[in-house]
């Protein structure tokens, strides 16, 4: 158990290291960061001055060391545009992103789990096909387009909901739906396949042989066991949601991390863009580690296997 967790932690640290190396590599090798800072047509002296100011004239490995040591201190650099530390900006936007992600996740589970169960219980019948269509559309429509269509219908034609901004629960409805549909589709598919697997298992057969009514078999024996993989996926997806919300947040001008990233691109604010990617990757690595450890604690098969 200890050995297993130790190895997992080691892999995660290695992943974090590779992540920082990847980001550093792409920033330094694919172009001169100074070129992003100066006006086009700046003189050679200006560029050299900026090189010196940001330490870009030092050897690459020294630059990497500086980059890493500041990362360890939670320093993601200074925003060019806002003139404040990127970390502060990130943390100030994080709550908004989390609210949106939690509501979108709630919606996706509320829709995905019951429809997945219904599809599995009525496999090959009407509700199964309807669920498949719903999932297929969710996976095939770009979330930002769903958002634009919602604005068109509910803000422009019906005038029921505000089209952009944040502040009231009403502002949350459309972005959460646009963001949540794709995940609802994913959760529905997983619930369906997980439920089908459980329904074919020995203990469900036993419950049926005992003569329990269908509703009890599904509610008491199948449902709980089928839910485990879905909830695990949902935990990981919550973090992914925070990170893929960039287009939806742009559509609805929702002041979260995605919007921060989009602003970073528009203002050529490079440290912000880099910081958002690093934080996103770090969050996903940490959540994956937590899931692995939690699994090992719950399920002895996993920790004995390796």
């Amino acid at each position: 158990m200890k050995q297993y967790i130790g190895r997992r932690v080691g892999y995660s640290l290695l992943s974090l290291f590779l992540l920082s190396l990847t980001i550093f590599f792409f920033v330094r090798v694919t172009g001169d960061p100074a070129a992003l800072l100066v006006e086009p047509g700046a003189s050679a002296e200006d560029i050299a001055a900026i090189h010196h100011q940001f330490g870009l004239d030092r050897p690459l490995w020294v630059q990497y060391g500086v980059f890493m040591s500041s990362l360890f201190h939670g320093d993601l650099g200074q925003s060019f545009y806002y003139r404040t530390p990127v970390m502060d900006l990130y943390l100030s936007r994080l709550p908004n992103s989390l609210i949106l992600a939690v509501v979108a996740m709630g919606f996706s589970l509320l829709v995905g789990i019951p429809s997945g169960i219904l599809a599995a219980v009525r496999v090959g019948r009407f509700w199964d096909s309807a669920g498949k269509l719903f999932a297929l559309l969710g996976l095939s429509m770009p979330s930002f387009w769903v958002g634009l269509l919602l604005i068109l219908l509910f803000s422009v034609y019906l005038g029921w909901l505000p089209s952009s901004g944040a502040g009231t629960p009403l502002h949350l409805i459309m972005p959460a739906f646009a963001l949540g549909w794709y995940f609802a589709a994913a959760h529905m598919r997983l619930t369906r396949s997980s439920m089908l697997e459980v329904l074919g298992s020995e203990y469900v057969k036993l419950a049926r042989i005992k003569g329990l009514p269908q509703s009890l078999v599904i509610a008491k024996h199948a449902f709980k066991n089928a839910l485990i993989p879905v909830l695990t996926l949902a935990g990981v997806n919550l973090v992914i949601m925070v990170n893929v919300a960039v287009v939806v947040e742009t559509v609805f001008a929702w002041p979260g991390i995605g919007r921060l990233l989009a602003e970073g691109i528009n203002f050529r604010d490079f440290p912000v863009v880099q910081g958002v990617v690093i934080m996103g990757g770090a969050m996903i690595i940490i959540v994956n580690l937590m899931v692995d450890v939690l699994y090992a604690v719950i399920d002895p098969r996993i920790r004995l296997e390796r």
Binding site: G31, L148, I240, V246, N266, V276
Partner: protein, 297 residues
């Protein structure tokens, strides 16, 4: 004896059935849609009624022909610069088709190559490739693509490169798994005994056996890549204006949305959805038909 066995195993009706059932649930309509989009992309300059990049400022925001104020000159209306929406959609197909297919192939080449190397050679190569794959999977794909696009600057071919190096991981994972089991098969062992070099075995014996899987994965990735391209263009780091791309059209259309210029939002989105939906349906079918091992993927 043998004739009797044949009669039992293969009666006439049975012989015809495999072919029939193989094609029985072939997704005809999705395939046709993809073929039509492909043809439209190839013959865009013949089909488009107007120049997609030049508009006339007197004809801005014209609605589609069936609405009052619309004319049959601009069948699907015009945008904020008076450019014909239909022509832009037709040329936009070119971007989606070219970016979609080349990025999927590029990602497939990287992922399949690394997957075969990692699976067949094992040892430290396997460790390096798998750790790299893990790290890549931890990266939020879309955010990473945006990050890369912001560094290298917008252009269509940059987008292809970026999407290729963002989305290769899934190929690497699955192909590696396949190679691990192929490695133990008789024909590969015999090739080793016969003295084939590692390179020959990987290229001549392993690669042809995993290519089916790579094609299935590629079809399934097509939708993901097309949506990613549209998202990048929508955010302004994808295909640069004035080149017509569906994601870019949606981004432009956002200006007119609040005033009710719905055609600028609905039509490009429908095109993206049709193409992605078709690719997904075809991919699902191929997955079940070509590669039973991938069924639960």
């Amino acid at each position: 004896m043998s004739t009797q066995a044949e009669l039992i195993v293969a009666p006439p009706s049975f012989r015809r059935r495999p072919v029939f059932s193989w094609l029985g649930d072939f997704p005809l309509i999705p395939t046709l849609i993809l073929v039509v989009i492909g043809l439209v992309a190839i013959f865009a300059n013949v089909l488009a009624p107007h120049n997609p990049e030049v508009g006339s400022l007197v004809a801005r925001f014209k609605p589609p022909f069936w609405q009052t104020g619309g004319s049959t000159k601009y069948l699907l209306g015009t945008d904020q610069l008076g450019r014909d929406v239909l022509s832009r959609l037709i040329f936009g197909a070119r971007v989606s088709v070219v970016v979609g297919f080349t990025a999927v192939i590029f990602a497939g080449v990287i992922g399949t190559g690394l997957g075969i190397l990692s699976g067949y050679l094992g040892g430290w190569v396997d460790q390096v490739v798998m750790r790299l794959t893990d790290t890549w999977l931890a990266l939020p794909a879309l955010t990473f693509a945006i990050f890369l696009a912001a560094i290298v600057g917008p252009s269509m071919w940059n987008i292809v490169l970026i999407l290729g190096i963002t989305y290769w991981t899934r190929y690497a994972r699955v192909i590696r798994g396949e190679v691990l089991s192929l490695k133990e098969r008789e024909f590969v062992r015999l090739a080793v005994v016969a003295g084939c070099s590692k390179r020959t075995i990987m290229v001549r014996h392993i690669l042809p056996n995993v290519i089916n899987t790579a094609i299935v994965l590629g079809t399934l990735m097509l939708g993901v890549v097309i949506i990613a391209e549209a998202s990048l263009s929508f955010l302004g780091v994808g295909v640069p204006p004035p080149q017509p791309a569906w994601g870019l059209m949606l981004s432009d259309g956002k200006q007119g949305l609040m005033v009710g210029y719905w055609w600028l939002t609905v039509f490009p989105g429908c095109c993206i959805m049709l193409m992605v939906l078709s690719a997904n349906l075809l991919g699902d079918w191929l997955r079940v038909k070509l590669d039973p091992q991938l069924r639960q993927l």
